[in-house]
C-alpha cells in the first residue's frame, strides 16, 4: 500500500499533461537527445505493445521493425526526455499486452483501426 507521503512525492513527478494513447496505437515518440550541451529531438515511431506500472513508475513499450529487425524501446511516460507522443493511428487491441506481435510477420502484425 502506498502511503499519502509516497503518493504526494510521486504526484510531484508526474507531467501536468500526460500523453494520451493506448495499447495498439501507432505512435511517434519525440525523444530529446543530449549531445554535449546541445539538445535535439529524435522521433521513434512504432506500435505500443504494453503499458506497465502506475504513477511515476509508468512505462510503455514501443515496437517497430527497423531494417528487418524487431526493435523494442521502453519509455517512462513521465520522463522529461519524452517530449511528445503523437498518435498516428488507433489500433484495435483485444488484450493489454501485445507480446504475441513478436512472433508475427510484419503483414500479420497489422492491427485493425478503431472505428469511431
Amino acid at each position: 500500500m502506498k502511503t499519502a507521503l509516497l503518493e504526494k512525492i510521486e504526484q510531484s513527478q508526474l507531467k501536468e499533461k500526460a500523453p494520451e494513447f493506448t495499447v495498439g496505437d501507432s505512435v511517434r515518440v519525440h525523444v530529446k537527445i543530449k549531445e554535449g550541451d546541445k539538445e535535439r529531438i529524435q522521433v521513434y515511431a512504432g506500435t505500443v505493445i504494453a503499458r506497465d506500472g502506475g504513477g511515476a513508475n509508468e512505462t510503455f513499450t514501443v515496437r517497430r521493425i527497423s531494417f528487418g529487425e524487431g526493435v523494442e524501446r521502453v519509455f517512462p511516460v513521465h520522463s522529461p526526455y519524452v517530449a511528445k507522443v503523437e498518435v498516428e493511428r488507433r489500433g484495435v487491441a483485444r488484450r493489454a499486452k501485445l507480446y504475441y506481435m513478436r512472433k508475427l510477420t510484419s503483414k500479420q502484425s497489422r492491427l485493425k483501426e478503431v472505428q469511431e
Binding site: 510521486e10 543530449k34 513508475n57
Partner: protein, 209 residues
Amino acid sequence: MQTLIGKKIGMTRVYDADGVQVPVTVVQVGPCTVVQRKSKAADGYEAVQLGYGEQKEARLTKPQQGHFKKAGAKPAKVLREVRVAADEGARPGDVVTAKIFEGVKYVDVLAHTKGKGFQGVVRRFKFGGGRASHGGGWLRKPGSIGNREWPARIFKNKKLPGHMGSGDVTTQNLRVVQVLADDHALLLEGAVPGPVGGIVVVRKAIKKA
C-alpha cells in the same frame, strides 16, 4: 549532532534536474525529541537519547512515564542513543527535525534487515554450487569444508548454511536527493535496509562529506 530516528516509507523514482531517473527510498525522519543528555561525569560517556513516534502514556510503565516527564517530552515509541561530542548543545525537551539534513550530501542508514530464515550457502554466501551435468552429484551443497588428519577439525567461521538476515546493518554513503523539511522526509538514492515501515536511524555520513 546530525542524526534522526525515522521510518522507511517505500521506494519510487524521481527525475533530477537533467531529467535522469533516480531510484529513491523515501524515509520519514523525525521530529525527534531529546529525552536525555548523558554525560561523561554522570554516565561515563557522552550521548543524546532521542525519542521518535507517539506513544499513549497508558502503555508505559511508571518508571518510563517518569523518564519522559523529567525531560518534558511527550512519550515516544522508539528511543535511541546517539554518541556526541562533549560540547554538544542539545538539551532534554529540544525537538530535532529533518531541517538538520539540509545541505547534507551523504548519509548513513542504520536498520534491522528483513529475516530470511535458514538458508543454504548458495543464497547466504553466493557460493557457485556444483554442475548439473557431467556427473554433477552436488548442486547447492557447500562441497569440501576442510582437510583430513590435519587439522582434524573444521576451522571457525567456515561459511556453512544457517540463519540469514534479521541483523542490524549500516548502509553507508547514501546520496541525499532531496530534503522535504515540511513533510519530515528525505529522499535517499538507492535501497535502504529493512522492511517498509521499519525503524531506521539516519545520520550524516561519517566517511564521505
